[in-house]
């Protein structure tokens, strides 16, 4: 097991100055930085191994096909899918949700039907459902959350009815850090025979995910939020469902026989991967997963809970800071407001100190509205952050309060 100072050294980008100050990167929920292992793997692949897949009989093409398949196996093992064929590579979590909306929901939705989500969803888990519901005369229903930012399970259950055709909810909230009781929510929906999609975009970098244990029908995430390259995402779907779904896009690689009388489609995953996929992205994701697996969840959890406890304590000591999202079960995401200071001013001043945070609605406008806020400032941490970085964040926040309250 590596010491965490060594882990930090794995991320070359962290070793630089921004605005004359050492970079303190606290925007990991937006995207994570990439370890040298991922950078090297991409560089190696592009320098020595690049070729298209499934198409050539030549060495490089066969080798690239093998590498791409290995990446799929790696992802399947990582989230404990039953079959490799249940892993579909897409552009990101957003595309994965759109794929399910198009290919799974479109044929099943009738006027008056409902898709149940929660009030804490990212726009990526709201808008695709609204689009498809709008075309079918059905509607998207949000399950309420508590003031602390937890899903109200009683209301969640009571909103499920015979018109509910799908349940979709976020595993871990990007704006609040809340970890939803995903397994329990799946069980509640399944008791009524309703399929479930889980948006795992913010979950996979913080905790072990076992899709069979969760029991969900679909699970989605993005590579760039788990130390891998951007432009690649994963849709996990249960095999029996996937092979009954209509294709998402048409093109090469996804077909069996094409004729002008009609075309037949290959089973999953090829059915949903029309055209040349993001081959290097998948190979980069495998390198990222190998990297995380190698560190191990125990090390990650230990470091993250140390950071979160420290940050909660220090921020809690500043009277004008109000933490937003105080669920019992959280990843180290700290959303907060300061009464007299707008989040964009906070973020700009932090930036002048080399501290990168996000300010705004975090692609969750309905959630902000529910909480009666227009925006928050968010510091999102991961294992390569340090106690000292949190100290510096806190010191600067105190200066900001003093500046604006004077």
């Amino acid at each position: 097991m590596k010491e965490d100072t060594d882990l930090r050294k794995d991320f070359p980008i962290l070793n630089q100055e921004i605005n004359g100050k050492p970079l303190i990167y606290l925007d990991n929920a937006a995207t994570t930085q990439k370890p040298q292992a991922v950078i090297d793997r991409l560089s190696d692949f592009l320098s020595k191994e690049n070729a298209n897949i499934h198409r050539g009989v030549h060495y490089l093409s066969m080798n690239a096909t093998t590498l791409y398949d290995e990446a799929r196996t790696c992802v399947a093992n990582f989230i404990n899918a039953d079959h490799n064929d249940e892993i579909i590579f897409v552009r990101g979590a957003t595309e994965a949700i759109n794929l399910v909306a198009r290919s799974f929901c479109n044929e099943r939705l009738e006027p008056g039907d409902e898709i149940l989500i929660t009030e804490m969803e990212h726009h990526a888990n709201i808008v695709p459902w609204q689009l498809i519901a709008g075309e079918n005369g059905s509607r998207v229903v949000p399950a309420p959350i508590t003031d602390e930012g937890e899903t109200d399970l009683d209301q969640f259950e009571s909103l499920l009815n015979e018109r509910t055709k799908l349940v979709a909810f976020v595993h871990v909230s990007n704006a609040l850090g809340t970890i939803n009781p995903a397994k329990e929510m799946v069980e509640i929906a399944h008791r009524k025979g309703i399929p479930v999609l889980i948006d795992g975009a913010q979950a996979v970098a913080h905790q072990e995910v076992d899709v069979q244990d969760l029991g969900c029908d679909f699970y989605v995430f993005s590579s760039h939020k788990i130390f891998g390259p951007d432009g690649l995402g994963v849709l996990y779907g249960r095999k029996d469902l996937l092979n009954k779904m209509t294709p998402y896009q048409g093109g090469g690689d996804m077909i069996e026989i094409v004729s002008f009388d009609g075309t037949t489609f290959r089973p999953s995953p090829e059915r949903f991967e029309a055209g040349t996929p993001n081959i290097s992205g998948a190979i980069g994701l495998k390198a990222a997963i190998d990297y995380v697996t190698n560190i191990g969840w125990e090390t990650i959890h230990k470091k993250e809970s140390l950071l979160m406890n420290h940050a909660n304590k220090l921020l809690g000591e500043i009277p004008s800071i109000k933490l937003v999202g105080t669920a019992e079960n959280k990843v180290p995401v700290l959303s907060f407001t300061i009464d007299s200071v707008h989040p964009h001013d906070i973020a700009t001043i932090l930036d002048t100190k080399g501290i990168a945070v996000r300010a705004g609605h975090h692609c969750a406008q309905p959630l902000m509205k529910r909480l009666g806020l227009s925006a928050t400032t968010r510091a999102s941490l991961t294992f390569y952050n340090t106690v000292d970085e949190i100290n510096q964040l806190t010191e600067t926040l105190k200066e900001i309060c003093a500046l604006f309250e004077s």
């Binding site: 001013d345 700009t348 002048t352 300010a359």
Partner: protein, 149 residues
Amino acid sequence: MEDLSDLYQEIILAHNKRPRNGEPLIPCTHQAEGFNPLCGDKLTVYLRKPDEQVNEIACKTEGCAISRASGSIMTTMIQGKTVNEIGKLIEETKALLTGDEEPEIDLVQHGEMAALVGVRKFPARVKCATLAWHALESALKGAMEATTE
């Protein structure tokens, strides 16, 4: 503290805390909203302009310190000016905040708006500083809404 950032000058902080002419002016002859969909800054500019002269102006802002200060300072510069004079002020302010050339600050010409010149170093925030001025332009044209897009 002075090294905290050039952007947050005392003048800006003071206007942010207590904006001048910050309450809606009702009734008014001209009114326009400014909205920045990226960050959610929202403001309304109200004018009483019975003829070529703006007798009264107000700017109510919900947003960051930069947009609040800019709107507040703007109202202090516009009061009593003619449409022609205001047109010139708008152009000068745009050049100050967004012009390609580094502006020469003239305290007589730019007044307190000069305090906002620091925003040039923060591309993500320039629109916060120009929003009120865009809304003022729209209000003068009789339009009801301005955005930064």
